[in-house]
């Protein structure tokens, strides 16, 4: 016992002696101190790359219900998701609802990193050229503006933290000064525009390949400003269409006055005009010879480096370089050309958007050309359940699956795979059923029948599950690899490149800001505010149409501008925020069923013909329609039990 006691005393002595020496104060060999990191250009760029990676870019890897940079697939079908699926332009084959993006984006850790970057930059200012220092500083302003924009469009006014708070912490006090309250929505938008201005100040106009061509240029910052200002202006103008009440409204933390709109519209006009006049950027292939050329050009716009792009996010093949790729080709190829993963064919454009595209009548009106399905001109019908259709209605009969779409806008051909398209050397078959020669219906179900010509025909258009791309597995979430809308996505999907059937095998770049959006921002701000150059705005809209192979000029009206925006920017993640900022969501979605087009083979004819039926989307119909509530325009503030912030209305 005594001996044990001695041991303990001895050990304590040894330990206490060790405490007195410096021998343990070594620099760790597996970590880099901030001084070391900041002492080299490479170190600074590493830090910069890190905060670039934290930017909330709504790219292929943005999963609206879980977050940014979510690669691959979490094992739940619901994690295969694009912002576009939350709108009237597309849905996932197994059904997606309407509602707010619910990833609870609250990036104050990322904002702190940016603020630390500012602080570090001051420390090492002397070691670099002035121009280098200013560029890095402007880049950090750009990134911070981008983060606050992502916050403001989700929550309205948020706490503005533009410095590292460490030195303001007072031990022993209640530190109430660290509980920074929410700014008003207006002040938050003004902060974002100001950050854009600070970014614009010292960003370069062109980027050299040695510095990195994917970094932000002056035009990227102007583009961000144009986008953010239009968002703020729209909220100010349309807030009254979905007014809310509560403490957050009383304190102006959400909502703005319609009188604030003109300031923000002007900011959008100025930023957009600067890009249009000074950037040297131009539309990709602005004068196609034919609509076919236009379709090819518009398709290639998204797959090439070109002079229309203001800001893009680069990807590497994730099967080669870990955590770098995305899975667009794997998840969204139509079933017949899927690369071999067990989830595919999920990106389904709606009939709603297909109907919006023009044809080439080009009579100066720019009217949408609805798909013609009937002989009597009635295209306002929709059938809730296609298995119950009356086959004696005057449906128009077509010889080929592709016939109803032939004269449509080049941008439809470049953005959407329609039934009967040729894709990767395969004829894409999308068919929802058949009518037997006896008049019996075989719709939304697997089966076959013999035609009057003695041949066998299949309800989904082919024998075996690899020979068609539509309507199989409706209502079966896991197996819903076949379009339920009648259409499949084409924009951003690569025809000439085959990927292996693994996640993250795509390296297509994501175009975040391109000149066409700036054109549309300018046109919208002009029409909405009465400020801006009407002639220029009309020209911009018609330039976009000319690029799509149209020959006429349409007048500048709000309706035309918004229609062009839907068509030009379809599936690029813009529609969701357009519906939010213009407060259109709750009016558009009140138990609304999005539409599908169901091609059905009619065997009652000697030569089998196709009819096309307008129907409610299977999943929307089963869900009783989709609804967007006005309170969803703002998300609930995260972390209120510790941050003491005022909650948004109705949460």
């Amino acid at each position: 016992m005594n001996r044990k006691f001695l041991y303990i005393i001895g050990l304590s002595l040894v330990l206490s002696i060790t405490n007195c020496t410096d021998m343990l104060e070594l620099e760790p060999l597996d970590k880099v101190s901030s001084e070391q990191l900041l002492s080299s250009q490479g170190g600074i760029k590493t830090l910069l790359a890190r905060i670039y990676n934290r930017m909330p870019v709504e790219d292929f890897n943005y999963v609206p219900n879980s977050g940014f940079n979510r690669r691959g697939w979490s094992g739940i079908g619901g994690s295969i998701l694009m912002t576009s699926f939350y709108t009237d332009e597309s849905y996932r084959s197994d059904g997606t609802g309407i509602g707010p993006v619910t990833n609870h984006y609250w990036p104050y850790d990322d904002i702190r990193e940016v603020n630390l970057f500012f602080e570090s930059l001051e420390q090492v200012k002397e070691t670099m050229r002035e121009s280098q220092y200013l560029q890095l500083k402007s880049e950090a302003h750009f990134i911070r503006a981008y983060m606050y924009f992502a916050l403001a469009k989700r929550y309205g006014g948020v706490p503005i933290i533009d410095r590292v708070l460490d030195s303001e912490y007072v031990p022993g006090s209640d530190n109430s000064n660290l509980y920074i309250p929410r700014s008003t929505e207006k002040a938050t938008w003004e902060f974002i525009l100001n950050e854009c201005d600070l970014a614009i100040e010292n960003l370069p106009e062109t980027l050299s390949s040695e510095d990195g061509i994917y970094r932000a240029s002056k035009w990227a910052a102007y583009g961000l400003k144009s986008r953010a200002a239009l968002f703020a202006a729209s909220v100010a103008k349309y807030w009254e269409n979905a007014p809310l009440t509560g403490e957050a409204v009383n304190q102006n933390l959400v909502g703005m006055n319609s009188s604030d709109a003109s300031f923000f519209y002007q900011a959008c006009l100025d930023a957009s005009a600067t890009i249009i006049n000074n950037s040297g950027k131009s539309l990709y292939m602005p004068n196609p010879a034919t609509p076919q050329d236009a379709a090819n050009n518009f398709y290639n716009l998204f797959l090439t480096d070109n002079n229309e792009i203001l800001f893009k996010k680069h990807f590497l093949d994730g099967t080669v370089v870990a955590n770098q790729g995305h899975s667009f080709d794997v998840f969204y190829n139509p079933a017949q050309t899927n690369p071999g993963f067990h989830k595919f064919g999920r990106f389904n454009p709606t009939l709603d958007i297909v109907d919006i595209f023009e044809n080439y009548t080009d009579n100066g009106l720019g009217e949408s050309a609805k798909i013609i399905t009937r002989e009597d001109g009635n295209e306002d019908y929709t059938i809730a359940n296609p298995t119950e259709i009356d086959i004696n209605l005057p449906f128009k009969k077509y010889d080929n699956l592709i016939d109803p779409f032939l004269d449509k806008d080049a941008r439809m051909w470049a953005s959407i795979i329609v039934p009967g398209s040729d894709w990767k050397g395969v004829r894409i078959i999308i068919q929802g059923g058949l009518i037997k020669s006896t008049g019996e219906k075989l719709i939304y179900t697997d089966g076959s029948a013999t035609g009057l010509d003695g041949n066998t025909y299949y309800s989904y258009g082919g024998e075996g599950i690899t020979s068609y791309s539509g309507f199989r597995g409706l209502g079966q979430g896991d197996d819903a690899n076949y379009t339920s809308s009648g259409f499949s996505i084409k924009k951003y999907l690569r025809e000439g490149v085959s990927v292996i059937g693994q996640m993250e095998s795509s390296d297509t770049d994501w175009i975040d800001i391109r000149l066409a959006e700036i054109y549309l921002n300018y046109a919208e701000a002009t029409v909405e505010s009465g400020q801006g150059d009407l002639t220029l705005a009309a020209k911009l809209i018609n330039d976009l149409r000319r690029r799509a192979g149209h020959q006429d000029n349409i007048p500048l009206t709000l309706e035309n501008v918004l229609k062009e925006r839907r068509i030009e920017l379809a599936f690029e993640g813009k529609r969701y925020w357009d519906l939010v900022r213009r407060r259109d969501f709750h009016q558009l979605f009140a138990q609304t069923r999005r539409k599908a087009l169901i091609p059905i083979l009619d065997l009652r004819d000697e030569n089998p013909k196709y009819i096309f039926v307008r129907a409610n989307n299977y999943n929307d119909e089963n869900a009783g329609g989709r609804t967007f509530q006005p309170y969803m325009y703002y998300l609930p503030i995260p972390g209120r039990n510790t941050n003491d912030l005022v909650e948004n209305p109705q949460y």
Binding site: P243, L244, T245, A384, Q591, Y631, R640, N641
Partner: protein, 240 residues
């Protein structure tokens, strides 16, 4: 040795399982809170609907940041919540179909608590008559504004197979006269409105011989009160 280990394991398991048997020591909800939403002027119930209808938002006091509990109000305008913790609550009744009211420091005791909220509905639907004749469902009614500023945006005759009929649970009927939208919103006067559902046009909805439920809804146009939800007449049951 092996035996000792086994016994040790056995004993550990027993101890752990005994500990697990103890129920947690929190009290369950011990109060009921029920009552009605009553029209201050007429004393009638102010009906709403379960999905996206008027609600009671209850904030239990005593927490640093009280969080809203949303208690639903039934279609009839009555409510009942039997799983309430006794305590002091603030109530916020807003974003519904009546002028917002709030009640502070309302004491809910264990056991039964009855309370009626007296409110001013945006619109009262009066002189309602819903009847079936000539293969039509015909509704006639007039409107009365809760306050002079209230206008009406739209009126509709709703139909469904059960009592939950309303804006969010309804047949998507076709026809031209079951719904009227007013753009711009219409000032509320003494007009008598007639809405009809043509049963012939809607055979897909009225397939069976059974009871069907009908109700008139009106959407008010009021500013400064947040989200406005439909006001309803009482439900009319018609066997078809």
């Amino acid at each position: 040795m092996k035996r000792i280990i086994n016994i040790t394991i056995l004993i550990s398991c027993l101890i752990i399982s005994l500990i697990s048997c103890e129920i947690d020591n929190y009290e369950g909800p011990n109060a009921s809170f029920y009552g009605s939403i009553i029209d201050n002027e007429t004393g009638a119930l102010v009906g709403t609907e379960l999905i996206n209808g008027s609600t009671i938002r209850a904030f239990e006091q005593g927490f640093e940041t009280p969080v809203a509990q949303t208690w639903l109000i039934k279609n009839t305008g009555e409510f009942r919540n039997d799983m309430v913790f006794a305590g002091t609550y603030n109530f916020d009744l807003s974003n519904g179909n009546f002028y917002p009211i709030s009640v502070e420091n309302f004491k809910i005791n264990s056991g039964d608590n009855q309370h009626d909220f007296r409110v001013t509905p945006y619109i009262r639907i009066k002189n309602v008559n819903i009847s079936h004749s000539n293969n039509q469902i015909i509704a006639t009614f007039s409107l009365e504004a809760g306050e002079p500023e209230v206008k009406v945006k739209s009126i509709r005759l709703y139909a469904f197979t059960d009592m939950h009929v309303g804006e969010n649970i309804k047949f998507s009927t076709s026809g031209t006269n079951f719904l009227q939208n007013f753009s711009p919103s219409k000032t509320i006067d003494n007009s008598v409105y007639t809405l009809t559902i043509e049963l012939g046009e809607n055979e897909n909805h009225f397939k069976y011989n059974r009871n069907y439920y009908f109700r008139i809804g009106a959407l008010a146009d009021v500013t400064g009160v947040g989200t406005v939800r439909h006001n309803y007449s009482t439900v009319e049951v018609i066997p078809l």
